[in-house]
C-alpha cells in the first residue's frame, strides 16, 4: 500500500483493527464448562470460570489448536507462548484480571490478503479469555444512573483470539473488506461462528489521520462497540472526519477509547477511567508456557483447508476472469463445483456465468458436476439456446435428471441451420422497412435493430432459436 489514498483532500486515513473472535470450542478456555450462547444466566459456570478462591485454570487444548490454525491461515509465525495476567477491576471479570497473552503471543507477523489482491499486515493473534456480561437495571440501561447491575458469567472464560492488524488500512472500504475477509477465513477454518450481531466477533478500530506526506502517525482513538461490518465503515469515517475537523480549527484529538453510537451515527468518549488503566501485566503463574513442536505446526499446516484467497486465485486462473469477478461464487462456496464442472470439459467462462446467475445463491449445490457440465457443453455447442438451457437447468434443480433427456423430453432439439435461415428470411420479408434500415445502419444502430429481428425470430420459433445463430444469419443476409 505505497500509493497514497486521500480520505479528504490533503488528508490520509490510518486504521488498524483489533478483532476478537470467540472460538467455537465445546468448552471454555480454562475449565470444562460448556461454551454455548443463549443459556439461562449463570448456568454454564464453575469455580474456575467464576474465579472462586482456590480455583485454577487448565488450558483447553482445542482452543490452542484453533488459535494456531487461525495463526497459520494468517501466515503468522507460531512461537512458544506464555499467558499473562492483565489486571484491572471490572465486575464482569471474575478474577479482576484477564488471562491473556502479552509479550509472548502464540501468533506473530502474518498477513491477510484482501479480495483486491492487497495485503494487510497482522501484528499478532493471541489467545485470551472473555469476560462475563453486565446488564444495568433502571436508568437508561447505561452504568451511570442504573439502580443495580446484574452479571451473567456464562461468557466468562470463553476462549477468544484477538487479531491485531498493522496500521496498514487506508480507507473505510478496506477496513470493511478486511473484517469481511477475516470472517470468511475464520468460517472456512471452522474455528468460530464469527457472528458480529451475537458478539462472537467484535471489532475495535484504531483511527487517526495525517496530512498527506507526513511520515509520522498522529494521535489515534480506539473505537469500540462496533457491531456490524457496515458500522466498521461508518465509525471509521465519522472518527476520521472528527479528527480532521479538530485539526482544521487548530485543535487536536485526545488519545482515548471511544464508543460507536449506532443510533446517532457518532462516536462518544468512554469513561475517563478506561483510559488511565495500568494493566500491570505479568506472566500467569498458574499456567505453564505453550510450546508447540515443529511437528505440531506441520500437522496444522497440512490440515488447513483451502482459504478464500486461494479459492479466488484458483477460480480466476481456471476461468480467466478477474479475481474481483469470482468473489461472489467463492463466497457462496460454489467454486469447488465450478472447478469440477470445468474439469469434466465444460467451457470455463460459460460455467462461471451459469453458476453465478442461475444457481440458488445461498444453498449448497446438489447437482452432479457431470450433469451440469453436460448442460453447459450442449449450450456451448449450440444444441440448446440460452433460454432452453435455463429451462433444462430449472428442471434439473427441481427433479434432477440428465440434461440430454430433459431437453429431449421438452422437445428442445437443436434447430437445423437451414430451418433457422428460412424463419429469418420470412421475418425479413415481413418487415421490409426495418430491414432496409438495418442494412444501411452503422454498427450501433444495427445492434438495436438486431434486437427487434431476434425478438421476432424467437417469437416465431417459440424461443428455440439460438440468439447468436440468428445474429449471424442477419449479418450474412445484410452483407449480400
Amino acid at each position: 500500500m505505497t500509493e497514497v489514498i486521500e480520505f479528504q483532500p490533503g488528508w490520509e486515513l490510518i486504521v488498524g483493527l483489533e478483532v476478537h473472535c470467540e472460538l467455537a470450542t465445546k468448552t471454555k478456555m480454562f475449565c470444562g464448562c460448556r461454551n454455548e450462547f443463549g443459556h439461562e444466566p449463570n448456568t454454564n459456570v464453575c469455580p474456575t470460570c467464576l474465579g472462586l478462591p482456590g480455583s485454577l485454570p487448565v488450558v483447553n487444548g482445542s482452543a490452542v489448536e484453533y488459535a494456531m490454525r487461525l495463526g497459520r491461515a494468517l501466515q503468522c509465525t507460531v512461537s512458544p507462548s506464555v499467558f499473562a495476567r492483565k489486571n484491572y477491576f471490572y465486575p464482569d471479570m471474575p478474577k479482576d484480571y484477564q488471562v491473556t497473552q502479552y509479550d509472548k503471543p502464540t501468533n506473530t507477523a502474518g498477513k491477510l490478503e484482501l479480495p483486491d489482491g492487497s495485503f494487510v499486515g497482522i501484528t499478532r493473534a493471541h489467545l485470551e479469555e472473555d469476560t462475563g456480561k453486565t446488564s444495568h437495571q433502571g436508568g437508561d440501561g447505561r452504568i451511570h444512573g442504573a439502580e443495580s447491575s446484574l452479571v451473567d458469567y456464562n461468557r466468562a472464560g470463553v476462549p477468544l483470539v484477538e487479531i491485531v492488524s498493522e496500521p496498514d488500512i487506508r480507507t473505510a472500504d478496506q477496513a470493511k473488506a478486511y473484517v469481511d475477509e477475516l470472517r470468511k477465513i475464520v468460517l472456512a477454518l471452522g474455528v468460530s461462528d464469527a457472528k458480529m450481531e451475537e458478539g462472537s466477533m467484535r471489532v475495535d478500530a484504531n483511527v487517526s489521520v495525517r496530512p498527506v506526506g507526513e511520515p509520522e502517525f498522529r494521535t489515534r482513538c480506539e473505537i469500540k462497540n462496533i457491531n456490524s461490518i457496515r458500522s466498521v465503515g461508518r465509525a471509521i469515517e465519522y472518527e476520521a472526519k472528527r479528527h480532521i475537523a479538530l485539526y482544521d480549527v487548530g485543535e487536536k484529538p485526545t488519545q482515548e477509547t471511544r464508543h460507536w453510537d449506532e443510533e446517532h451515527g457518532r462516536t462518544r468518549a468512554g469513561r475517563s477511567k478506561e483510559n488511565s488503566d495500568d494493566y500491570r501485566y505479568f506472566d500467569e503463574p498458574d499456567l505453564v508456557p505453550l510450546v508447540p513442536t515443529a511437528d505440531d505446526i506441520a500437522r496444522i499446516d497440512a490440515a488447513l483447508p483451502m482459504l478464500p484467497a486461494s479459492r479466488r486465485r484458483r477460480l480466476a486462473e481456471i476461468t480467466g476472469a478477474a479475481a474481483a469477478d469470482v468473489t461472489l461464487v467463492v463466497d457462496r462456496g460454489h467454486d469447488d463445483f465450478v472447478v469440477s464442472v470445468v474439469g469434466v470439459g465444460a467451457d470455463a467462462k460459460k460455467t462461471l456465468t451459469r453458476v453465478e446467475n442461475d444457481l440458488p445463491p445461498d444453498q449448497p449445490i446438489t447437482l452432479a458436476p457431470q450433469s451440469f457440465a453436460q448442460l453447459v457443453i450442449m449450450e456451448t455447442a449450440g444444441e440448446l439456446t440460452a433460454t432452453q438451457a435455463k429451462q433444462v437447468l430449472a428442471e434439473m434443480l427441481e427433479n434432477g435428471g440428465d440434461p440430454k433427456a430433459i431437453a429431449a423430453a421438452k422437445g428442445f432439439e437443436a434447430m437445423a441451420s437451414g430451418a433457422l435461415e428460412a424463419v429469418v428470411d420470412g421475418i425479413i420479408a415481413a418487415n421490409p422497412a426495418d430491414w432496409a434500415e438495418f442494412v444501411v445502419a452503422d454498427d450501433k444502430a444495427r445492434k438495436k435493430l438486431s434486437g427487434f429481428f431476434t425478438g421476432q425470430v424467437m417469437k416465431a420459433t417459440q424461443g428455440q432459436a439460438d440468439g447468436r445463430a440468428v445474429a449471424e444469419v442477419l449479418a450474412r443476409r445484410a452483407a449480400r
Partner: protein, 482 residues
C-alpha cells in the same frame, strides 16, 4: 508439653484398620484435648466436632464391613483455613471471606478423605498466609502451646500449634516463604515444604501462586512422610503439578545418610542467627556426620538477596490474586452508590493492615515504569538463586541451615516493625524461590527452653534423600531425650 505423648498417625491408622480401636474413640480423645486447651491456644478458626464424629463413625462402619478405609483410617487432620472445604467456611482468617463456603474441596482434602483421614477443624493463619506469627489473623492470634506468651510462628501457626498441642497428629499448611517450616520450628514439630508441583494447589486459596506449596505437619518424620505420600502426586486440575506420582518416602526412611554429602549454607549460619539456634545446627551436623555423612560448608551467595526478591515477587502475585475480593460475588460487601466505590469500601473494610501493605507493595512493583527495576529485577535474583543452588548441588546431596533465626518470640514483639518480622523468613525463602523441597525437623531447645528446628534442603524432587536425613536427626533426638 512435649509432642509425641499422643499416638502417631501411623499407630492410629494401624489400630483403626486392624479393628483394635475405633475411629470414634480417636476423634473423641482429640476433641477432649481440644476442649481442654483450645480456648487458651486458639489454633482453630473452626472445630468440626459433629462432622468429625460422623466421619469417624463412617470409618468404623467401613472397618466393621470388612472394608479398608485407607492408610489414614481414623486419623484426625487439621486443615489450614486457606484450604477449600466443600460447604464448610474457608476464611483465610480474613473478614473479607467471612461466611464464604466453597462449593468444592481442595484436591488435598479430597485425597485425605479417600485415605480415611478425618478433618477435625480449620486452623488459624496470618490473613491470606501473609505473616510469620499468626498475629495477622482477623480472628485473633494463635498462641504457642509450649509457652502461651509466645507466638507459634506463621503463617500456618494454627496448624503447627494444633499438632504441637496434640489436637491432631497431622495437619496441612501452606508454605510461600516459610509458612510451614518456620512455625514447625517454633512449635517443635516436623514441617515440610515439598518441591513446587508435588502437591496440587487446586483449592488452596492463592497468596503467591509461583511460590505457594501445601505440605504436612506431623509429630514424627514417618507421619510427615506418610501424609506427603497421600497428598502428593499429579493432579490434572493444577497445570503446574508435576506429572508423576507422589515420591516414595516411608520406604526409604531407614536408609540412613552414610556417604551423603551435606553442606551447611554459610550465608545462613552466621550473622543474624541466634547463638543457641546456631549451636543446635552444628550439633545436628555432628549427628549427621557421625551417621556417615560428609559435612562441609556450602555457599549460596544470592541467598542474601532472597528476602528482597521475595518481598517483590510474592506481593506482586498477591496484588493480582487478591483482586477478586471485590464484594461483587462472595464475601464481605459494603454497599455504595457505584461499583468502584463498593469495591473500594469492601476491600478497605475486609482486608487487614498487612494484606493491604502487600497489595500496595505488589501493585507498585508491577506498575508501568517500575516493573523492570522491581518485579523484573526480583525475577533475575530468583534465577541467580536457582543457579547458586544448582552449583551447590553439584557438590552436595543435601543442604542444612537453621529454619528460623530465633526461637519463638513474644506476642506483639515484632508487630510494629514489618521488616523485623520479614527477617524471620530469611532461611526459608530461598527454597520457595527455587521451587525446591525443604523441611524443618525439631532439634532440641534454645536457651529459653523453646523448640529449635533445623532445616534440610534438597534439589528438585529430592524429598526421599531429605527424609532419610530427617529420620537420622529424629532418631538422635529420641536417643538424647531417653
Amino acid at each position: 508439653m512435649t509432642a509425641g505423648v499422643a499416638p502417631t498417625a501411623v499407630s492410629i491408622a494401624a489400630e483403626v484398620r486392624g479393628g483394635t480401636r475405633s475411629a470414634r474413640s480417636v476423634v473423641e480423645e482429640h476433641l477432649a484435648r481440644i476442649a481442654e486447651r483450645e480456648p487458651a491456644i486458639h489454633a482453630f478458626n473452626l472445630v468440626l466436632r459433629d462432622e468429625a464424629l460422623a466421619a469417624a463413625d463412617a470409618v468404623d462402619a467401613a472397618v466393621a464391613a470388612g472394608d479398608d478405609p485407607g492408610p489414614l483410617a481414623g486419623v484426625p487432620v487439621a486443615l489450614k483455613d486457606n484450604l477449600c472445604t466443600r460447604g464448610i467456611p474457608t476464611t483465610c482468617s480474613s473478614r473479607i471471606l467471612e461466611g464464604w463456603r466453597p462449593p468444592y474441596d481442595a484436591t488435598v482434602v479430597e485425597r485425605l478423605r479417600r485415605s480415611g483421614a478425618i478433618t477435625i477443624g480449620k486452623t488459624n493463619l496470618d490473613e491470606f498466609a501473609m505473616g510469620s506469627s499468626t498475629e495477622n489473623s482477623a480472628f485473633g492470634p494463635t498462641r504457642n502451646p509450649h509457652d502461651l506468651t509466645k507466638v507459634p510462628g506463621g503463617s500456618s501457626g494454627g496448624s503447627a500449634a494444633a499438632v504441637a498441642a496434640n489436637f491432631a497428629p497431622l495437619a496441612l499448611g501452606s508454605d510461600t516463604g516459610g509458612s510451614i517450616r518456620q512455625p514447625a520450628s517454633l512449635c517443635g514439630v516436623v514441617g515440610v515444604k515439598p518441591t513446587y508441583g508435588v502437591v496440587s494447589r487446586y483449592g488452596l486459596v492463592a497468596f503467591a501462586s509461583s511460590l505457594d506449596q501445601i505440605g504436612p505437619f506431623a509429630t514424627t518424620v514417618h507421619d510427615a512422610a506418610l501424609l506427603l505420600e497421600i497428598i502428593g502426586g499429579h493432579d490434572p486440575l493444577d497445570s503446574t503439578s508435576i506429572p508423576s506420582p507422589a515420591p516414595s518416602l516411608v520406604d526409604v526412611l531407614d536408609r540412613g545418610v552414610d556417604g551423603l554429602r551435606i553442606g551447611i549454607i554459610g550465608e545462613l549460619a552466621g550473622e543474624g542467627i541466634a547463638p543457641d539456634v546456631l549451636a543446635r545446627l552444628h550439633e545436628a551436623a555432628n549427628v549427621l556426620e557421625k551417621a556417615g555423612a560428609i559435612i562441609d560448608t556450602a555457599t549460596i551467595p544470592a541467598a542474601m538477596y532472597g528476602l528482597s526478591a521475595y518481598y517483590l515477587i510474592a506481593p506482586a502475585e498477591a496484588s493480582s490474586n487478591l483482586a477478586r475480593y471485590d464484594g461483587v460475588r462472595y464475601g464481605l460487601r459494603v454497599d455504595a452508590p457505584t461499583t468502584a466505590e463498593m469495591n473500594e469500601l469492601s476491600r478497605t473494610a475486609g482486608f487487614g493492615a498487612e494484606v493491604k501493605r502487600r497489595i500496595m507493595l505488589g501493585t507498585y512493583a508491577l506498575s508501568a515504569g517500575y516493573y523492570d527495576s522491581y518485579y523484573g529485577k526480583a525475577q533475575k535474583v530468583r534465577t541467580l538463586i536457582i543457579n547458586d543452588f544448582a552449583k551447590a548441588y553439584e557438590q552436595f546431596d543435601l543442604l542444612l541451615s537453621p529454619t528460623s533465626p530465633t526461637t519463638a518470640f513474644a506476642l506483639g514483639a515484632k508487630t510494629s516493625d514489618p521488616l523485623t518480622m520479614y527477617l524471620n523468613d530469611i532461611c526459608t525463602i530461598p527454597s520457595n524461590l527455587a521451587g525446591q523441597p525443604a523441611m524443618s525437623v525439631p532439634f532440641g531447645v534454645g536457651d529459653d527452653g523453646m523448640p529449635v528446628g533445623v532445616q534440610l534442603l534438597a534439589p528438585l524432587q529430592g524429598e526421599p534423600t531429605m527424609f532419610r536425613a530427617a529420620a537420622v536427626l529424629e532418631a538422635a533426638m529420641k536417643e538424647t531425650s531417653r
